[in-house]
Amino acid sequence: MLLFLQSLLNGILLGGIYASYSAGFSLIFGVMGVINLFHGEMVMLGAFLTYWVFTLFHIDPFLTIPLSIISLFIFGYLVQRFVINRVVEEPPMISYILTFGIHLIIAYTALWIWTADFRTVTTSYSGFNANIGGMIVPYARLATFGLALLVVVGLYILLYKSEVGRAIQATAQDKEMARLMGVNINRIYAITFGVGAAITGIAGSLISTYFIIFPQMGLPYTIIAFCVVVLGGMGYIPGALWGGLVLGVVQSLTATYLNAGLSGAFTFILLFMMLVVRPAGILGKGVVE
């Protein structure tokens, strides 16, 4: 029983992280119809940023988060403005291929510069665990989970309580109408992409505290983001939370009771089944292009 609960708890914690870096993916698709296949690279960049700052300047990973936010926002904004914006009006397949090209460029350039070595961020508190009713949870993980949830909530607040957020939503719902109301669509696109990148960068920074990081780590994260968002509903931000938790728990339980490799197979089979049977997500609120 304890094993089950531990596995479940691990799954939930994992799911929270998944949700935090999938939300950006969902946002970008919901607003622009762009499927961003270099999404995982933004996680990677956030993680590596934190790693280098930590290794070179000994600044605590949690403190580098603002840096991640700013750098990734700028990165996302610029890439969208100058590259992606040219294809937003095209069918999603085009952005799919284009962003995949960008994924290759970023991932392999990173591989070239930083080599394939695995790296970790080990802080003074990395080894300390909390003991909750017999279940072991590293403090760092708990903090990361909490922050991850904050990110999702923060995004929600941004979208619903701020002026920019409302402009973003308007653009997502009816572009022409938003344009008529005076919204600068191109700027909103760039901002949205920047926001998506920024929150993904935060997730990357958080992840560096307890996952191994390496330049090619991006693609698996992109695939997970896919899966999470399809489960929760493409373009539906709260769905990222559901999708993340479901996927995290499924993966954790499969890894515990079957084997770790199979949990990978399960993810893909689950993704496949969802797309075929219920592309609008578990709650049915996703956009089906």
Binding site: G101, T109, V288
Partner: protein, 309 residues
């Protein structure tokens, strides 16, 4: 006429005293043209971009590997069975996924290919047998020399491109193009869109499986990571894009070009090749979406219809 000369020329190359390396390189190009041609038959003609094509290549690889190493079956039978098995698997995969709109089809097929890789990796361990050998891979007996594969590769290339050419001009070709242009209108005009798409998908899967079998015999050693590598699909995509997606000869141009770049780069600058592939994708999508052949064709069509109406 030129085509005939080139074909004859290629046929006698192995007797021309060229280096092993050159023969090997040409054979590799032939097989890439074949693979890209397959990918183009489904993705180029219908517009449904298949991101899981390597799945069938991998399935074919394993079928041949198993048949030849454990079953001691002859080569030609093995590759044919590889093709058939791949095509049969393509049916239940294609039927539900080809109903999905564009981008979702890409994701679903990607998931399929990755799932296949994971399954073959974990199958033996999970079920408790010694069948696929998991990550250790399968080894085949050493086979014939490069010249053999040169001719096999040449033959496969001719067949695949030939089929693409034939499809284009046939009734099926019209249906595929109509689906690409305006699927709903095609359906309303009497085209059984699902069946047509599945047909193209299965043809593509058959030959991908067959080629997988051929290359397995050549490599004599395969692992799931090698034969289900996403980069194989990506190269098919890029070669098609560069050459001209949806054209018959685009794969020839794209595959040749990219394979040569690979040969030039991969030894000394392994990552640079992939980075360049990435740049080619970006440049082609933004500036030259029809690829080389496609852009040339459009120029010709515009000239033909220039006489104002």
């Amino acid at each position: 006429m030129v085509v005939v000369l080139i074909t004859v020329g290629l046929l006698i190359v192995p007797f021309g005293g060229f280096s092993e390396y050159f023969i090997r390189l040409l054979a590799i190009i032939f097989l890439w043209i074949g693979k890209t041609g397959c990918w183009n038959i489904i993705s180029g003609f219908t517009g449904y971009i298949d991101f899981g094509a390597v799945g069938y290549y991998g399935i074919g690889s394993y079928v041949t590997a198993l048949l030849m190493s454990k079953g001691h079956a002859p080569f030609l039978i093995s590759i044919l069975v590889s093709g058939v098995v791949s095509a049969l698997i393509a049916l239940p995969v294609g039927l539900p996924t080809l109903r999905l709109r564009g981008a979702y089809f890409g994701i679903a097929t990607l998931a399929f290919a990755e799932a296949m890789k994971q399954i073959i990796l974990e199958f033996d361990k999970t079920v408790g047998v010694n069948f696929f050998e998991g990550p250790h891979g399968i080894t085949l007996p050493i086979g014939p020399k490069n010249e053999f594969f040169y001719y096999i590769g040449f033959g496969v290339m001719i067949i695949v491109i030939g089929i693409a050419y034939w499809i284009r001009r046939s009734k099926l070709g019209y249906a595929l193009r109509a689906i690409h242009e305006a699927e709903h209108a095609a359906e309303l005009s009497g085209v059984d869109t699902l069946r047509t798409k599945v047909k193209a998908y299965m043809i593509s899967a058959f030959f991908l499986g067959l080629i997988g079998g051929v290359e397995t015999y050549w490599l004599t050693y395969i692992t799931p990571h090698m034969v289900f590598d996403l980069l194989i699909t990506i190269q098919m995509v890029v070669m098609s894009l560069l050459g001209g997606i949806g054209t018959v000869f685009g794969p020839v141009v794209g595959a040749s070009f990219l394979t040569i770049i690979y040969e030039l780069l991969h030894r000394d600058f392994p990552y640079t090749y992939t980075i360049i592939v990435g740049f080619i994708i970006v440049v082609v999508v933004l500036l030259m979406p029809k690829g080389i052949i496609g852009t040339l064709q459009t120029k010709r069509v515009i000239q033909k219809t220039r006489p104002a109406e």
